[in-house]
């Protein structure tokens, strides 16, 4: 029990922020059919924006609790700025191309955003630990758990539930599902496809930025942040099944558990435990855990 509990807590804490980021990636894939490599860059920009926003809030003399609001607002600002700009200004010009070509387009975008981030924020690391310190530690079953970790778990659950509710229980969500299922038919029924694409992509960007913003207090925000996140998020959505919210949740948990087990029991394999799991899932269930096999056209 003494070893199991820390493994579980670490796994769920890691899965929490990963779920928020992967949720955005799987949503964008579900609606736009784009596996977005630039998603990691948006995550990094979210972290940088949050660092700037928290520093600004402190400079203005706002109470420490406002730093959480500042991080949320920074994610909104990143989404509202980058979402429509990237979708309308860039990605829309490549629609209709093969999925692999779109993957390469977002890879090019990732390269560009890497340098844009360095040009705006420089190469020196930023530290914003104040929001995490607000929560202190919680004693549970004789173990000390970071309060901020618990907050992230709640935030991830809220993000997942809101997304699920909006998609399944509201008219707008059902329109999005209709577009996912058949864009041409939806357009013929009067749905403004372009608007759905912009909104879905912007929500995806928001979730990536939110993941970055609320992870910032736990890490040093510096160049190279996006690289690892992209591949781990890929692993999550591939494991869960592309375009599936439940899949993203389970995928994040699987990755979290794999990493946590490796860290605690076999540190040598930490670096590639996630990819081993991803390869294993792809081998035995190629469409991911929550994706049904599609019929093929000749």
């Amino acid at each position: 029990m003494q070893i199991v509990f820390p493994i579980v807590i670490d796994a769920v804490a890691y899965a929490s922020w990963l779920f928020i980021v992967s949720l955005g990636m799987t949503l964008v894939f579900g609606v736009l059919k784009i596996l977005n490599m630039a998603h990691g860059s948006v995550y990094a920009i979210g972290a940088y924006a949050a660092a700037t926003a928290v520093a600004l809030a402190a400079a203005l003399g706002l109470p420490p609790a406002f730093s959480l609001v500042a991080m949320l607002l920074s994610a909104v600002a990143v989404a509202v700025t980058l979402g429509p700009l990237l979708e309308r200004g860039l990605l829309a010009r490549y629609y209709g191309r093969d999925e692999v070509v779109l993957l390469l387009v977002t890879y090019a975008l990732f390269l560009m955003l890497e340098d844009v981030t360095k040009l705006i924020w420089g190469v020196n690391p930023y530290y914003v630990s104040e929001p995490a310190q607000l929560f202190g530690n919680v004693l549970f079953a004789g173990m000390r758990i970071g309060g901020y970790d618990l907050f992230l778990m709640v935030l991830a659950a809220v993000c997942g539930l809101i997304t699920w509710y909006v998609l399944n229980r509201t008219t707008s969500g059902k329109i999005v599902l209709a577009v996912i299922h058949n864009p041409e038919m939806s357009a013929s029924m009067g749905v403004n496809i372009q608007r759905v694409y912009v909104v879905a992509f912007t929500v995806g960007v928001f979730l990536a930025a939110l993941g970055g913003a609320f992870t910032a207090p736990m890490i040093s925000v510096q160049p190279g942040l996006s690289v690892s996140v992209i591949i781990i998020s890929f692993a999550v959505v591939i494991i869960g099944g592309l375009g599936s919210i439940q899949g993203a949740a389970v995928g994040a948990l699987v990755v979290g558990v794999a990493r946590s087990l490796a860290v605690h029991l076999l540190p040598e394999i930490e670096l590639f435990s996630i990819y081993l799991v991803m390869a294993a899932v792809l081998i035995f269930r190629p469409e991911g855990l929550f994706q049904s096999v599609k019929s093929r056209l000749i």
């Binding site: 010009r93 209709g96 890879y107 975008l109 390269l111 890929f234 590639f272 190629p286 000749i298």
Partner: protein
């Protein structure tokens, strides 16, 4: 183009490049060596692209070739650069042949993601292996070339010659393969694998062949690059290395072999000058360039070449894209 004519052209290209190398300064020899060497790995990706596969894991074979060449002197006592290249090529090809039956069940982004996962497993293994130098990698003992010892006066040019000869030979062999029945079959598989299956051929076997060729070329590339640099590191297997190689493949397109080496040289020149004059924005320039190529030249730089000989009609696409995992 017939195999004889393309062979004559390859010989002429090799002779011209070898003579030009005599006049080139050392830095240019090194630049061409690196671009031709990387061009081999890109050529592998292009062969796979033309055969209907997309890889984000070429770094795995690149690293396998590099580490095989690096370990050859200590483990097997192999000092000769040519033998090390052969060894690197064979090791990568062998691992490629082992992975191929598993990978050919997939298409599109699933194929790309699985190759990426395998290369990242390799990256993790290499980073954590203290016997292989961990994340620092290992230095390589300077090789001999066909019994000739290398020293600071001749090393650059001899490796340049070796790289040029291997690259031209590989380019010629690939062009022969592309014009063969198996090569044309690969093009048909790219268009519509199911149609190929209905015609009685095996799309999976064709994709597997393309993948093994991709692995062989990746291994050759890695072993040459490692010897030119004198050092190998796990980063060779990282996805960013694979991504850069894919970038050059997109730039080159899958129509012409020379376009692959031209695109690789272009990238090396851009990288060298960008690192020198604007080190903080070179990825920005690279990304912008890539977007422009995909938008305006989706077939790559190779499509700029005038068509030679009789016009080849490519198989029409019955389905715009194949989504989903298994084929």
């Amino acid at each position: 183009m017939s195999a004889t004519k393309s062979f004559q052209m390859a010989v002429v290209a090799a002779v011209v490049l070898l003579l030009a190398g005599l006049l080139a300064p050392t830095w240019l020899q090194f630049l061409v060596t690196m671009s031709a060497s990387n061009g081999l790995a890109v050529l592998g990706i292009v062969v796979l692209m033309r055969g209907g596969g997309a890889t984000f894991g070429q770094g795995m074979f690149f690293a396998l070739g590099a580490y095989a060449a690096a370990l050859a002197p200590t483990l097997l006592g192999v000092q000769d650069a040519v033998l090390r290249i052969l060894l690197g090529t064979l090791v990568a090809g062998l691992i490629g042949a082992i992975c191929a039956p598993l990978l050919v069940r997939y298409r599109g982004i699933f194929f790309a993601m699985l190759t990426l996962a395998l290369s990242m497993v390799m990256f993790g293994l290499l980073s954590k292996s203290s016997a292989l130098g961990g994340s620092d990698g290992i230095n390589i003992v300077k090789p001999t070339v066909l019994g000739m010892a290398l020293h600071s006066g001749n090393a650059e040019y001899v490796l340049y010659c070796l790289t040029v000869i291997v690259s031209v030979a590989a380019g010629w062999l690939v062009s022969v393969y592309w014009n063969s029945a198996a090569g044309l079959m690969a093009l048909a598989v790219r268009g519509n694998p199911l149609r190929v299956e209905y015609l009685g051929a095996s799309a999976r076997r064709s994709l597997g062949t393309s993948f093994v060729i991709c692995a062989l070329l990746g291994g050759a590339s890695g072993s040459i690059t490692a010897q030119a640099l004198g050092h190998v590191e796990p980063n060779f297997a990282n996805w960013t290395t694979s991504g850069e190689l894919v970038f050059v493949a997109v730039l080159a397109g899958y129509r012409r072999v020379p376009a692959v080496f031209a695109a690789s040289l272009l990238l090396e020149i851009v990288r060298s000058f960008s690192n020198l004059y604007f080190p903080n924005t070179w990825q920005l320039a690279l990304g912008t360039f890539m977007l422009l190529v995909i938008m305006f030249r989706p077939e790559g730089l190779g499509s700029l070449w005038p068509a030679s000989g009789r016009r080849k009609v490519e198989p029409a696409l019955a389905v715009p894209s194949v989504t989903g995992g298994q084929s």
